[in-house]
């Protein structure tokens, strides 16, 4: 029996939870489409493993993995995604907008690149008030075409903000291959002209992600300023559960073969795998039941918290 505190156990369980969560969620197509993180679990989990309690994570709309990895409970994420009042956003944010700043998940935002300048602002607040935290902003390769990245890199560099920009490069923006949309050979090279450190790691390797993220986050915490990390990952499913996939079955099977969970679990005994699986499945099933039984938001919420 592995030590529950061992290096591999915690991230493995976290990744399995995300996978199980999404599997359960998509069984509920009546709740609208979803943006799934399956295949990309190692990015979210590795990154969050490198973050401390004072840090804040901001993510793109593809936020199930990041939200769970950062520690929002499966109960709460499920409630939010099913539009229930017990979600952290009281069911008003839903897909693409889940947030729980008090535990360090400042929030998802469904504008591609839209969270970059916001994250810089959160980092600015930390710097001005000399708070101990570091801000991590997780975004897709798609966001690397957006001018907001440039403005953020520049300002983060001149002001030495405690900001780590993390590109989850799953090599697709809806149907558009990263190679046809983005000129840079490595997306982390975008940091170079600004004098910032950049690195590109295998985003299917949770340990590689964690170690690289930890280095940048701890440097930022020590006042060494911002950095950009690129994690090369794979999106297992289509852009959203309502979108057609453009990849061939052959391509997809190659991609699935790179599973970050299988990779980390390699060598683990089948019994332990099964026990873990049972655990996360039960956690997810309970979350689904709770969410199903939870109340919808009051209709008055349509007009509350506006001004």
């Amino acid at each position: 029996m592995p030590n529950p505190d061992s290096d591999i156990f915690r991230p493995l369980r976290a990744m399995m939870l995300i996978r199980a969560f999404e599997k359960a969620l998509v069984s509920r197509a009546d709740h609208g489409f979803q943006l799934l993180s399956s295949g990309e679990e190692a990015v979210a989990v590795g990154l969050c493993d490198a973050m401390g309690p004072d840090d804040q994570l901001l993510s793109s709309g593809r936020s199930i993995g990041p939200a769970l990895a950062r520690g929002i409970t499966a109960d709460q994420v499920m409630a939010e995604l099913l539009g229930k009042a017990t979600g952290p956003n009281r069911g008003k944010g839903g897909r693409g907008h889940i947030a729980q700043p008090d535990i360090g998940f400042f929030g998802a935002h469904a504008v591609v690149g839209g969270n970059l300048t916001i994250a810089a602002g959160v980092a600015l607040a930390m710097k001005v008030e000399q708070r101990p935290g570091v801000v991590v902003c997780l975004f897709g390769d798609g966001a690397c075409g957006s001018g907001a990245l440039h403005e953020t890199l520049n300002i983060a560099a001149i002001w030495q903000l405690p900001l780590v920009l993390v590109c989850n490069n799953n090599q697709l923006s809806v149907s558009t291959a990263r190679g046809t949309a983005l000129a840079p050979a490595r997306l982390s090279d975008l940091a170079i002209p600004f004098g910032l450190p950049g690195a590109t790691v295998d985003g299917m390797d949770v340990v590689a992600v964690r170690d690289a993220a930890r280095e940048f986050i701890e440097a930022a915490r020590r006042g060494k300023g911002p950095a950009m990390l690129e994690c090369l990952s794979e999106r297992f499913f289509s852009h959203s559960t309502a979108t057609r996939d453009t990849r061939s079955a052959a391509e997809l099977s190659e991609i699935h073969a790179r599973c970050p969970i299988e990779r980390l679990a390699h060598g683990l005994s089948p019994a332990i795998r099964a026990a873990l699986q049972a655990e996360v499945d039960a956690e997810v099933a309970a979350a689904l039941t709770k969410a199903d039984n939870a109340p919808w938001p009051d209709l008055a919420e349509a007009l509350s918290d506006v001004l």
């Binding site: 069911g91 008003k92 839903g94 907008h97 504008v111 690149g113 839209g114 923006s173 809806v174």
Partner: protein, 332 residues
Amino acid sequence: MSSEPPKTSRKLFFREAITRALTEEMANNPKVILLGQDIGKFGGSYKEFVGLIDRFGSTRVLDTPVAEAAMVGLGVGAAAAGLHPLVSITYMDFLMLGLDPLVNYAAKARFKTGGQITVPLVVKTTAGAKGQGVVHSQCIEAWLMAVPGLKVVAPSTAADAYGLMKAALRDPGPVVYVDHKRLFATTGEVPLAETIIPIGQAAIRRTGDDVTIVAHSWMVRIALEAAERLQTEGIGCDVIDLRSLAPLDMATITQSVARTGAMVTVEEGQLTCGVGTEIAFQLREHLENARIARVGALPAPVSSNPLLEAACIPDADRVIGAIRKLLGSNSA
């Protein structure tokens, strides 16, 4: 031997009507090019671009990065240099990122250069709510109506999608062409013959003597539903489909309200400084005593939560309620 009259129209999905207009215009005019996210092999988020890259090639159908500011700027620059580009901004919410080139350059280029530069550009975008939440649901047509130099159209039928898209692609521009997410999967008869809907002409979708409902885009369908239900209680509605928001066809509206004496405007966007508010003002300059009410979204963001979304945006019940109140308040 009985024979059917020859068909003059064909049923198309709204999205197919757009594809047809684009196909015809691209075939006719080599200056028409398309720029957008996932409009190539993928065919567009709403499939309205399906097949175009196969027919016209990747020089004329360009998949862009997610960079709305540059997308609009590219279209503006290419138009100013003599092409007739269409830029697809999938969600109107993200047109905000491209307002600088659209408003500060395109809408002013002809004026500021003393006529040396025109910008025959179409920006095609998609307004309204369909379960996608706070930043994929907004309607900012009213902002654009207020920009001197811009034209704005918003069809509600497949035939108009076809005809207005063609008009937009022949206009000296710039034109913003606004779809609604819920329209793409609707169907309608589209003339087999090439038919252009001139920009600036509203259409009367239904006639009745008691009240005029003025709407555009998806809300025309809501208006028609309301009108149908009101008919059963003896209230007759003119339903006017604006089709064009800039310029507005005030003549058609005024004629209708001169007869009915009452107008309810329906829009999915905000009431404040909205489409209906403008129409109301202009109408009253001609018909001082018209009774007027406006229906629009609640003054709040649109949640993706199905209950809250429905609570926020207008439906037939709210339109009917507004009409009953308006007519009742008069008779009272």
